[in-house]
């Protein structure tokens, strides 16, 4: 090995290096189905388009009013002044389609799902066993849900699991009571945009005391050039209930930039438990600007499990407002940034009541000049006594070009609290690589093993099939990562 290092430096690129170059551009999931739409709004956003979206969906007046008000806020609000402003300002809002209605109506049976969509699942490599699970899946295709089925046992338990549009149609009162109560339209520019043009997403309501045993899953996918995705998810867990929701996505590559700006609201009523798992692998041209926030009432528990791979820029800081005594919140996240990618992720925990506890674990990896940032806020209100919080951020850099930063903020207005913060930055160790390579693993395999080990605290929280999928993705990302 010793001499190999020296000799490759001076020579023309090796086979491995050439293969490596290919990987950056040839995104594995960069295929797309032929577009087949009933209605496609023009590019750009106007009051008329917002109105049209609402009319086509035959929404109640209050929702149209809400959208129009949000549109005004969006037009007036400035861009966020933090995060990666240079990249953010590249977004051309007038060059985006805000609504696309697919030609296929909502489906209930797997047999009725169009072939091109099944092909999509095929190419994503969803294993046979997992397809059975699709019986309980909403697959978001374009801006509207085309496939949706609730397993019978869910229906028997009284659990509602619908796409957001159907939720509004079929359960208007529940929606009206909770919608935008956690994230008001005025929260930030992207929340306002989503509020004006939202389409799709999931609506889940779990009745008091009901524990949903199987994770509810949704696959999302962007599939039109310059198309924005503005799904809106609302999960309400009534007192003492439990639900685990999982979303995972991959997206095809397009030449121009794609905007994804979702809003996710969780409401955990007293003693309820919500876990929300995301694995996102957007193609490298996507702006992923998501507002996620949860409210946890007394004795409730909320967990965000958030994996961010892919995209050009991700800005995402899942928040938990601990508003009742003994509420508990956890944010467990990983981020992976490769060449020309910036993962700006983090967490916000607001301790608004006594005896509330929280834990944040953030793990990030940067390679090939990629950049990860952790941006976190821990806020403790006066009289929120006996608050306990721990924050742990670990960054792993795979080469010299890559970068990682931490921006933690603490606003503590109460004395009787215990807050721990720990941050580490490390590099893939030469000794670790040598050890693994001496056992016959190639440099890429060895690196992937170290990276998977680094992400393990996250991966072990995932259902097995997702863990396997994630490990595979990392393997793919690592191929030729260290040259």
């Amino acid at each position: 090995m010793s001499k190999v290092d020296e000799s490759t430096e001076s020579k023309t690129p090796s086979r491995d290096e050439l293969a490596l170059e290919g990987i950056g551009t040839d995104y594995k999931y960069g295929f797309r189905d032929e577009e087949d739409y009933v209605f496609k709004s023009g590019r750009g956003l106007t009051k008329e388009i917002v109105t049209k979206i609402s009319q086509m969906k035959k929404e109640p007046q209050w929702m149209l009013d809400f959208r129009l008000k949000a549109f005004d806020i969006f037009m007036k609000k400035p861009m966020p002044t933090w995060g990666n402003c240079d990249l953010l300002n590249d977004i051309d809002f007038q060059n985006i389609f805000y609504y696309i209605k697919p030609s296929i109506k909502g489906e209930k049976n797997w047999e009725d799902v169009p072939d091109n969509i099944k092909n999509t699942f095929d190419r994503l490599g969803i294993p046979e066993a997992e397809r059975k699970f699709l019986a309980g899946v909403t697959a978001q295709y374009e801006s509207e849900v085309v496939y949706h089925s609730i397993r019978e046992d869910l229906e028997q338990q009284g659990v509602i699991f619908l796409d957001m549009d159907s939720g509004l149609r079929e359960h208007e009162e529940i929606v009206r009571k909770h919608f935008a109560t956690v994230i008001p339209a005025a929260d930030n520019k992207f929340a306002a945009l989503n509020s004006a043009v939202w389409s799709g997403g999931s609506f889940i309501w779990v009745p008091e005391g009901v524990k949903v045993e199987i994770p509810l899953q949704a696959y999302f996918r962007i599939n039109a050039e310059n198309m924005g995705q503005f799904e809106r998810t609302l999960i309400i867990a009534e007192p003492g209930s439990f639900v685990h929701y999982i979303e995972g996505c991959t997206a095809p590559v397009y030449s121009s930039d794609s905007l994804h700006s979702a809003v996710v609201e969780l409401i955990a009523k007293p003693g309820a438990h919500i876990r929300y798992t995301t694995i996102q692998n957007w193609s490298r041209n996507v702006y992923n600007l998501v507002t996620k926030r949860a409210v946890a009432h007394a004795n409730a528990k909320v967990e965000w499990v958030d994996g961010n791979l892919g995209s050009k820029l991700t800005m995402k800081y899942p928040a938990i407002y601990l508003m009742g005594e003994k509420a508990h919140g956890e944010v467990l996240s990983i981020a992976f940034a490769g060449e020309d990618q910036h993962q700006d992720a983090g967490a916000k925990i607001i301790h608004g009541a006594p005896d509330t506890t929280s834990m944040i674990v953030s793990k990030s990896i940067s390679k090939n000049g990629g950049r990860t940032s952790y941006r976190g806020l821990i806020k403790v209100y006066p009289d929120a006594k006996n608050v306990k919080s721990s924050v742990k951020c670990d960054a792993l850099l795979l080469d010299e070009k890559s970068r990682s930063d931490t921006y933690p903020t603490m606003e503590v207005d109460e004395k009787e609290v215990s807050i721990e913060h720990e941050a580490t930055v490390s590099k893939v160790g030469e000794e670790q690589l040598f050890y693994l390579m001496s056992r016959g693993l190639s440099q890429d395999e060895a690196t992937a093993m170290i990276v998977n080990g680094f992400f393990e605290p996250f991966t072990k929280e995932l259902p097995l099939e997702y863990a396997v999928e994630l490990n595979r993705l990392i393997q793919l990302e690592m191929e030729g990562s260290v040259g």
Partner: protein, 261 residues
């Protein structure tokens, strides 16, 4: 040293090997020939270059070969990466095994075994083989779910090293102070594991400070390392002599510090 066997039985041939680390010459002309069926022991003071030799044979990137030859079964290996050498049949049991946090022992063992053998071994089959190997080495089941070398005691690490080698089945096993850190019972089981690696087709290069392991794993040759090269070679009686008399009489230099365990 002299090799009476024919070239076809030759496993490792090191000729006038010079190695640098961080621009400092550590190995200064090592000559060593190992044939199939042989067990060689290397002894020598701390810092004399024993681990450097083992790293160089395995291909550590920081150890640069600046001169000489290193032939494995007749093939020059100096330019090869560690994984290529492993696949050819060279394995090193580390003096200081490295922890890989988050990677379970079972997953790790399966990956390296598949990789070495160049095929996916059916899970069930692998499990059986692993269980048998673990039983022989007295490795408990609970280790399978722990992370590789993470929080392992010194002796546990050494057991895991030999467990790995027993799955990789190398033709040339280099053991760097595998005996240090082992308790008396463990020394016996691990030595049996080492003996199981030996055959007419394989060779063992064992680095040690003490006679104790050599009681179990009997060397055909013992070499004394000093200042980056072999200064004396002999049969197994040389080890006994070193144990009772120290190195001074061989190297002609007084001991600078007491040898560490």
């Amino acid at each position: 040293m002299t090799a009476s066997n024919s070239n076809s039985k030759r496993i490792l041939e090191i000729i006038d090997l010079h190695v640098k680390v961080e621009d400092k010459e550590i190995l200064k002309g090592v000559n060593l020939t190992i044939n199939a069926g042989e067990v060689h022991a290397i002894m020598g003071r701390n810092g004399s270059g024993k681990s450097t030799l083992s790293y160089t044979v395995m291909g550590h990137p920081r150890y640069k070969v600046t001169g000489g030859q290193m032939l494995y079964k007749g093939q020059e290996i100096s330019e090869m990466s560690p994984d290529e050498r492993c696949k050819l049949g060279i394995s090193l049991a580390f003096q200081y095994p490295v922890a890989i946090s988050g990677v379970s022992v079972s997953n790790f063992l399966r990956k390296i075994t598949n990789s070495k053998r160049g095929k996916e071994i059916p899970v069930k089959e692998f499990r059986q083989e692993l269980k048998a190997a673990m039983a022989k080495l007295g490795v408990k089941d609970e280790f399978l779910s722990r992370y590789v070398n993470d929080g392992f005691s010194g002796g546990e690490k050494k057991r895991l090293e030999i467990l790995q080698l027993s799955l990789l089945k190398p033709s040339l096993a280099v053991l760097d102070e595998t005996d240090s850190g082992l308790d008396i019972d463990a020394l016996k089981t691990v030595s049996e594991g080492v003996n199981a690696l030996a055959s007419d087709e394989t060779a063992i290069l064992l680095i040690t400070h003490y006679q104790r392991m050599l009681d179990y794993v009997q060397p055909d040759f013992v070499h004394v390392f000093q200042d980056g090269k072999i200064v004396t070679s002999g049969g197994k009686e040389l080890a006994l002599e070193l144990e009772s008399r120290g190195y001074d009489w061989v190297t002609g230099e007084p001991a600078s510090e007491p040898a560490k365990v």
